[in-house]
Symmetry: C2
């Protein structure tokens, strides 16, 4: 069995890096804080005798050799980057649990048939450069590397500059290599498992998404002298588009998701009618047909609102992602592990995007969810119980071991 206390201690140790006063974590991708997290992770891996390699987008692979030189590696992992006001477990759980699997294999003196590789994917969150699942997406070939290198944060720093600055632009090519399977443990980030009292979510796939960048252009004008008829207020138009996003979401019932999460006003002065607003829009749904419908309706309706306000809208679709079913064989290994351990489990579709979604395009993949308190995530108050982390890690251990020795 894995060591639950050691797992928890390492989770807490990682959570010190970028710890926020409110008990959360701010470890934005490719920052100095992220570098510190990566360095600690690398040191832990090397202490176990694992060989660490880094690819051109900063993804880290820590390898434990198997007995059979002809077998493809079994992968497991997740991400160490966080939201600007994120929690301790989103991503970190999957990486640190993978580390605990490696430690337990060493402790138990187990040599697996196939090699095992533990992965830390770069920039899963997408909050800094605008593409979630960036590292796994570049690896999977979904985002051309040159395009990804050129993406910039709000300060104009590019992905390539940031990778170089923290010393994690690696020498290995960022592209799929032959692998036998990929398993990712993650917190659910939603309320379902907790509400039903299940310890394990057997993730059968992930929902569809579409993301946009929007810019509304009006005209800066004096708030005191500019009469209603002469105003072209970019923020009033944006407000109506935000309301539209919310209405389009609610029209789809409890399965709908529609969010404006990021927004910047220019010049952002109290007594100036805003001349420009830049903001993000994203929609999600388990059914790709609904996302296709939204990708047709939303731009049309938003542009009509912008036209009414005399404030043109420029909308850029950043990516559109179909729903991704996971590999039945791998999903079944998760189901069997939970059953063997007697853990209450249920099948579930992921509401969040995960690196597993892109890995699944070239490698048989499954995910394991554990509950989190009140379904809260992307929030400093994100919280799980040590027993929940331990149960999830034990399922990961069983599934990976079964696959590597099959």
């Amino acid at each position: 069995r894995i060591d639950g206390k050691r797992l928890w201690d390492s989770l807490m140790s990682m959570a010190e890096i970028g710890a926020t006063p409110k008990g959360g974590v701010k470890r934005l991708t490719l920052t100095e804080v992220d570098r510190a997290g990566r360095d600690r992770f690398r040191a832990w891996c090397e202490a176990l005798g694992l060989t660490v390699r880094v690819d051109a987008i900063g993804n880290m692979f820590a390898r434990r050799e198997g007995r059979d030189p002809n077998r493809l590696p079994v992968l497991m992992g997740s991400h160490l980057d966080s939201q600007p006001s994120g929690g301790k477990f989103d991503g970190a759980l999957g990486v640190i649990a993978g580390l605990e699997v490696m430690r337990s294999l060493n402790d138990l003196g187990i040599q697996t048939e196939a090699p095992i590789e533990l992965v830390n994917w770069t920039d899963e969150e997408g909050s800094r450069f605008g593409h979630s699942l960036m590292g796994s997406g570049a690896w999977a070939g979904v985002y051309p590397l040159e395009k990804v290198y050129g993406l910039q944060d709000v300060e104009g720093v590019s992905v390539e500059q940031a990778l170089t600055a923290i010393g994690y632009k690696g020498e290995h090519p960022a592209k799929p290599f032959p692998a036998d399977a990929y398993f990712e443990l993650h917190i659910e980030q939603g309320p379902i498992l907790e509400k039903e009292g299940r310890q394990i979510g057997i993730v059968t796939g992930a929902q569809a998404q579409v993301w946009y960048d929007a810019v509304v252009t009006g005209q800066d004008a004096h708030a005191g002298t500019t009469p209603p008829s002469a105003r072209r207020d970019a923020l009033v138009t944006t407000a109506r588009i935000i309301d539209l996003v919310d209405r389009l979401m609610r029209a789809r019932g409890e399965d709908g998701r529609g969010t404006v999460g990021q927004l910047h006003v220019f010049p952002n002065s109290r007594n100036v009618v805003p001349g420009e607003v830049r903001f993000s829009v994203e929609f999600r749904h388990p059914d790709f047909a609904e996302i296709e419908a939204l990708a047709a309706d939303f731009p049309r309706q938003a542009e009509a609102i912008a036209r009414d306000g005399g404030t043109p809208l420029a909308l850029t679709e950043l990516f559109r992602l179909p729903a991704q079913p996971f590999d039945p064989g791998c999903v079944d290994l998760v189901r069997q592990a939970a059953a063997k351990l007697g853990l209450p489990a249920r099948e579930i579709v992921s509401g969040a995007g995960h690196d597993a979604v892109y890995v699944a395009r070239s490698v048989p993949t499954a995910m394991i969810f554990t509950p989190c308190k009140d379904g809260l995530s992307h929030n400093e108050a994100e919280s799980i119980q040590p027993e929940e982390a331990e149960a999830g890690c034990q399922v990961l251990f069983e599934a990976v071991l079964a696959r590597a020795n099959r």
Copy 2:
């Protein structure tokens, strides 16, 4: 007559300080850039033999003595601070025109009966610390000095710290002293004079205003996993309040003004339902009764919207300003000057707040407006013609001279 070319050259010289690539000015109050503007202004004044004194809120007074030691000074001036993306003339015109009046008096060897003082008021714009007309308001006793010292910008720097940092926390008390009159030349910042082909606006008073700070509190949550029923989205609520502000403005016709100019989203990440939004709200109207009605209706209706969204609203009224009529005698001097010079003129109510509004509470006051291109202000494209600056300055000269020698 004043020297129109010298006036324009000094305007352009001041506009170099904080010049922006788009031809505007960013000379935010109490920054290093503002210090540079103040230093240049002080040097110009001292070169004319004027005595410069600075008060406790950084207002600068440059004095030219009169013949009669018993006469109270005639004041003129405006402000050198700008919006974050402001123009070259908003404020600077009134200060530099006052300087040109002083230079012309020297050139013409005129000794006036009363002394004349040229004023540069601190932080007229209000965009950094949230109180427009801050320096004149503190001087007039409208804002208690201790309260003003404690105001902070978004970075947490206080007014007192900023004053000390740039060396403009002066020794003279910031309070009204006996003065005979105050004249302020300013661009109209609206479209009326230009549309009617008038060179001079005889400003009879300024409209009423009310300003608020608003904070909407929701809950940070994952954009992909949080179903509509579980969301408490602070930005969706804010969007509806922005729409309310616009509707309340338009319900009052062309005299209504309602603006949300500044807004910050937290945590401001693409895939996080926003947990907090902070924003400004302001309303203006020539009739104070309408402002009183808005100050009763808006908080009630905004709170109802916030309640519906499950996202509480905290609203702080920053200030409420009645309409301010100017002194009939001073206004008449402006009218006479325009007539004497044969300049097409009309009476006008100011849509913007001006330092003159607070000065008028203790000193007989009038203002002179000049047209500006397309009525644009609080915009880098703000523009006036050299002849317009010259005409406004000539009216200022005549009015001040007439008052000082009456």
